[in-house]
Subunit: 351 residues, 2 copies
DNA sequence: TGTTAGCACTCGTCAAGCGAGAGTGCTAAT
DNA sequence: ATTAGCACTCTCGCTTGACGAGTGCTAACA
């Protein structure tokens, strides 16, 4: 059963008012503030119907109405109009977001800070998931007779390296051989794949020196792969929620803060979300049943996908926040194109 | 004016009781629980004197007494007896603290987790400050015609490296030359020194190619030094404080949580503290005036110094917590000795 | 038939008042 | 110097009553 035009207007008014004031809104105040051309009594009747349909709830008999998750969902899907960023917010992002590929993590973290500053909510940002990245080549570089650098180059140009110190000296030949050896074995395979299957694989080799070197290198190799796979999560502005009336109860505040302590879990949940701007409201979301979570994705070289997000009470300015996040992720994606590339981010890439 | 034996006993009893129950303690309950052989009235008189001397305070006329910062200070300095770790805590540390030099940061973080789990308070751990570390040598390693690895080796064996991608190709000779060049310039100088003075120094060189390469490398070099200097701070168990009666007020809880958001500032404050086990109570400490902060130091190779710490209300079990921290830092220091070294951690080190 | 005015009713909040309980501080007796 | 006794103070929990906000229903109206 569809809602009438008037019901939609009333619902919209209630949502607007409640988002603003965080207090149950009554029929009279709607009639006064929003010019709907009907009396409070009529509004009351409509409200009663809306409540029956599940769009509104009632804290207690004589309180005003509060929008339900379902109402917000309707609002986000149908009623919400795209909002233009305020000049102030736009300027803030343009001036303060100094994105640089070289300092990837710092940029990401910065974006999260900015996001929480603008929205006055808690926010986070994650570096891209790299489990679909494939290995281009592996190289071992000599440092001194017992020290070497292990370098892994991924297909998106992602380069990671670690320094290893062995218990015994190695030879230059075995180093070169192992480099080739490993490159042949792993080239084109995804990090995920290698990490999961490599433990079982045999390390054996004909040449004694090589075999020994490989035995020394493999643990570091696997650990480095793991590091490459790790998604970094930065959470910012968690304490912002203390300013919101819904978090004056210690218990809710505590629950919220627990997110901080469960970063790994949270990261997993966020990785599982779809790309693009995604809004999950209240019960819809698996993280905090009484919060709304909005995530958006940015791209690196038009390929790898990272996420940023905002967490707050279901009562939030959906239109503004989604616009801000869209703008911000577009900016990030633009900054993270390969240098010199113009279009899809694949030009100028050759190994 | 010194305290009498009886006054000390009473003070001790009040502290013990208050630490346990978090409620103002009255004369009657002390007389009952602790066998001091005097009546409540006598205790009342003594309490009154103790209050006059500043060891106790009075929330209001008809409440019991609460120990002041000064009382805790006296307790920590004079009254407190070293406590043996409970077998349970000892076992927990021994079993769960898998310290490994290779995964330094993870170990440190783990230590913080453990500490907050045992003490049920908020805790933190910092990686060592490296500002006194000196540079041993610098090396540039070729990867492909535009990519190279910059490696900086410190005197304590600390190795850091970054991958650089240049806009234009470089030559092998200029690479070798620059490596030597930089090593000569920076060998023996502290990271701090180089970082502070290098921006001013002239990049100029006779050879054009070298000069250009150097211009490309220097920014990364400086940034990498900065990374080496950065102390990592891990905070754990912040939400533990929600279980304490002193943090049922949202405002205090918020103030506490703000620490999370001010990690840089916090790190600076912690670096400024003395080594060893340091207890600062309430007003004594510059971080949170109504908290107690206990820090302790661990050593790496008997040289670099990192810190772990506990933050909580002034009402805490000083004896237990200091013992735990001492035990934990000893364990860490032991684990972070150079492999193969026995005594001062300087054997087996040769470049 | 949809809309509205009127009114009784419900519920939460706030302030005031009261009694109980805990603890002190003083005084006088030991 | 210590202690028993007692008046006094203050908090806490409970109840009460007034007030305000808001609803839901009914009857009148266009």
């Amino acid at each position: 059963m569809d809602l009438s035009e008037r019901q939609l207007q009333i619902l919209q008014a209630i949502i607007t008012d409640y988002v603003e004031n965080a207090e149950p809104v009554g029929s009279r105040s709607i009639a006064k503030k929003y010019d709907l051309g009907v009396s409070p009594a009529t509004i009351r009747n409509e409200m009663s119907d809306l409540e029956e349909m599940g769009y509104l709830t009632h804290p207690h008999t004589s309180a005003g109405r509060v929008p339900s998750d379902k109402a917000y969902r309707l609002y986000v899907n149908e009623l919400m109009k795209k909002k233009n960023l305020s000049a102030k917010d736009k300027r803030m992002i343009n001036e303060r977001l100094v994105a640089s590929r070289d300092e990837f993590d710092r940029t990401i973290r910065h974006a999260a800070e900015l996001l929480s500053e603008i929205t006055h909510l808690a926010s986070f940002a994650m570096t891209p998931a790299t489990n679909q990245e494939t290995i281009s080549f592996i190289r071992l570089l000599p440092v001194d007779e017992r020290t070497l650098i292990l370098m892994i180059v991924g297909d998106s140009g992602n380069v990671t390296n670690t320094t290893l110190r062995l218990n015994s000296p190695y030879t230059q030949e075995s180093l070169d051989l192992l480099s080739k050896n490993m490159t042949v074995s792993y080239k084109g395979r995804t990090l995920d794949d290698v990490l999961k299957n490599e433990i079982a694989e045999d390390v054996g080799s004909d040449i004694e020196a090589l075999s020994q070197l490989k035995g020394n290198v493999m643990p570091s190799f696997l650990r480095t792969l793991e590091d490459m796979l790790n998604v970094n999560l930065y959470m910012e502005g968690m304490t912002n929620i203390f300013n919101l009336p819904e978090y004056t109860s210690i218990d809710r505040a505590r629950d919220f803060m627990e997110l901080f302590a469960r970063k790994d879990w949270f990261t997993q949940k966020m990785l599982a979300r779809d790309n693009g701007v995604v809004v999950t409201i209240g019960e819809e979301n698996a993280v905090m049943k009484d919060c709304t979570l909005i995530t958006a994705t940015y791209h690196v070289d038009g390929k790898l996908v990272g996420k940023i997000g905002v967490i707050g009470p279901t009562r939030m300015k959906y239109d503004e926040i989604t616009s801000i996040m869209e703008y911000l992720t577009n900016n990030l994606s633009e900054s993270f194109k390969l240098p010199g590339s113009s279009g899809d981010g694949n030009a100028g890439k050759d190994e």
